[in-house]
Amino acid sequence: MKENPDTQARRVQDDLRLNYGPNKKFITICAGTGCRAYGSLKVKDALEAELKKQNMNVEVLATGCFGFCEKGPMLVIHPDKYFYQQVKVEDVPEIVSKTLAKGEVIGRLLYRDPDTKKTLFREEDLPFYKKQLRVVFGRNGMIDPTRIDDYLAIDGYQALGKALSEMTPEGVISEVKKAGLRGRGGGGFHAAFKWEGARRAHGSPKYVIANGDEGDPGAYMDRSLMEGNPHSIIEGMIIGAYAVGAQDGYIYVRNEYPLAVTHLTMAIASAKEAGLLGKNILGTNFSFDIHITKGAGAFVCGESSALFASIEGRAGEPRAKYVHAVEKGLWDKPTALNNVETWANVPLIINRGADWYAAIGTEGSKGTKIFSLVGKINNTGLIEVPMGTTLYEIIYDMGGGIPNGRKFKAVQTGGPSGGCIPESLLDIPVDFDKLYEVGSMMGSGGMIVMDDRSCMVDVARYFLAFLQEESCGKCVPCREGVRRMNNILEDICAGKGREGDVELLEKIATGVADGSLCALGGSAPNPVLSTIKYFREEYEAHIKDHRCPAGVCKALITYSIIPEKCTGCGLCIKVCPTQATSGEKKKAHKINNDKCTRCGACIESCKFEAILVK
């Protein structure tokens, strides 16, 4: 009798499952790009060598990113789940002889909560992880992404087996629809509607594509998924292809992600070998193959029509067409394009059911979202939270607040063309609709936190400068309009702003948003419009009073020394590169503003906060 694909998949799993039983001793060490940069592979090698030396049979799993990258290299010792961070090669002998051999913990490698000063033993105790719900991303830390067996052992490809044996393509679509899965790459479009459209569309072959271009500076959740759990994306795509009726798939990976390409390539090969991909998947008559395309490097290549053009071998420029990609996408054939994270959610929905999934999140946004937290925040890294978690919880509970006791000012969400959200809105639940409502967007989930030393005009200028460079230059409003807005912002920051500039910026912004060909131009005005909306007085201060309230715009600030605070220690004289500071020892010093370049070196050096920026 022919084995049913589901039982077949389960049997493979049972064979494999647990190697990692509940009491089994093993180590997972993060080998994501971040921790690798801190030397995690060396720590892994040292661990293996030391274990051999001490004759211990403990497996060391090099896994994907744990999310808390700034504390790397990091590892977890199972089954006790002790979490060690900032581990160095020198720590290895002690880890083996104490923790592994005798179960003793090593205090200095544990995480200390900077607020409570308490030492925390396990990952789940850390404030960074505590409020997270890591259903998609957390599995990164459990497996070696180069081994399909590891993925199978955590129920990998079970959803595929279920879909092929128990569900019709329409059934898969309706399950995903019921779950309410929305695209994680930008627009938040309902995945099921896209698949349905592509399924119904005439034309053959049909394609499914995973968008792993991830052009947002500072964002790397897609990289971490591709590196750390490639099979989850592949499984999602196979299920999607089954639902859509696609024979071929592409993963479009950013060129700068070599490790992601390596792991995806290995995963595709081993999935094929296991009969999970390729001809007659799991013995059914459904066949599907996946190819990898390396991105052309431009931010705009992540835009759907530019991405198709790039895969087709043409210049990665958006195309102006009012026909949806589900009907005419790649090579003008029906195509379902989804973000990498969107695909990784699919097996979860099939495995645990739409009801389970839809119970997480808000009315209009279901499930979880991975965010990258960067900027002026204590804990930087990747977090996964249920949709609807407030900005406050993300920034203060998980992010640990603003460093050096400074004040929160704004958070930019949604990548370079997202908006800046002020303190008064920290209580909003983060979901697709709410972020849009306040003038920003979900984008791919980037969050850049700014403190009171950030000038919001300068911030808008920074993002517009990025977008000006990244505009493909095809259409007039974006190519010329973003440049002109950037010029005006530069003027304002340089003290050359004019009366009426803010109103003019608003007018250009509206025209660019309305008139641009693709969503890059369509959203490029967000940084300008949102900062004007929430920080208009800061623009006015620059233009009318020639003052930068945050003390950032060099043309508008002067440095001086508060005589009452200055002890005359002379440190600022030592550090000033232009000899602008002077004074006798133990007497209040002075700054010569003709020489001062406003580099800030004196501020950094002064222990008495005697330097005033105005």
Binding site: A320, Y322, V476, P477, E480, G511
Partner: protein, 237 residues
């Protein structure tokens, strides 16, 4: 046939007709810069925008690329439309201050140059409408010119701005350019275009210089018509 309402007027047109043609057919004018009839449409200039209403949703679309749909309500002069058009004109005037075509068009549309924009001096009259690139690729079939770089650095020309071996000197690009940016000089037996000098051929009948030799060779190769038969100018044929 599909029926739609444009600026309050009922219009019907054949299925598949672009809004631009449908609207112009009804006697309503729409400015364009990049929709040359000889080439496919790129949607680059955004001058032809209109606001459409479907159900409760309104949207700005380029009329040159949006096919007429049954029941569509189109506004060609809404505030949003005029704002985009005005912006595009201001941006282009600042990019190509020398262009007479743009000056004339902006007068017609009642748009003044935006004083806050510092005019460019390095862009010539090119608005990057792409018509030249498209005609060279789609009609002539040699793809001698293309678009290079991105964003505001984008330019049109031959690869690396070097003399192109692919160019046949036909001048089709000059013909479709809306602003007269491309320079072509034809004097006696020589034609200069895109940095290259082409030798002109005289007409076997009237003896007048009428086409570059390279162009005739290319046509002969492509169509199989012997070069000899092509050596007579249009007037004498």
């Amino acid at each position: 046939m599909v029926n739609l309402i444009v600026d309050g007027k009922n219009i019907s047109t054949t299925e598949g007709t672009m809004l631009l043609e449908a609207i112009r057919g009804a006697g309503i004018s729409i400015p364009t810069l990049c929709a040359h009839e000889a080439v496919s449409r790129s949607g680059a200039c955004r001058l032809c925008v209109v606001e459409i209403k479907k159900g409760n949703r309104t949207r700005i679309v380029t009329s040159c690329l949006y096919a007429a749909e049954e029941g569509l309500i189109v506004d060609t002069k809404s505030e949003r439309v005029l704002n985009v058009r005005r912006l595009v004109m201001e941006l282009l005037l600042a990019r190509c201050p020398e262009s007479e075509v743009l000056q004339k068009l902006s007068k017609e549309l009642c748009v003044e140059p935006q004083a806050r924009f510092i005019a460019d001096s390095d862009k010539g009259k090119c608005v990057l409408c792409r018509s030249c690139v498209r005609v060279c690729e789609e009609v002539v079939g040699v793809s001698a010119i293309g678009l290079f770089s991105r964003g505001s650095h984008k330019t049109v020309g031959t690869p690396y701005n070097e003399k192109s071996d692919a160019c046949i000197g036909c001048g089709a690009c000059v013909y479709v350019c809306p602003t007269g940016h491309i320079e072509m000089f034809t004097t006696g037996d020589k034609r200069k275009i895109w940095g290259r000098t082409f030798k002109m051929k005289t007409c076997d009948t009237c003896g007048r210089y009428f086409a570059p030799v390279d162009q005739l060779k290319y046509i002969s190769k492509k169509t199989g018509v012997p070069l000899k038969e092509l050596a007579i100018c249009m007037d004498c044929r």
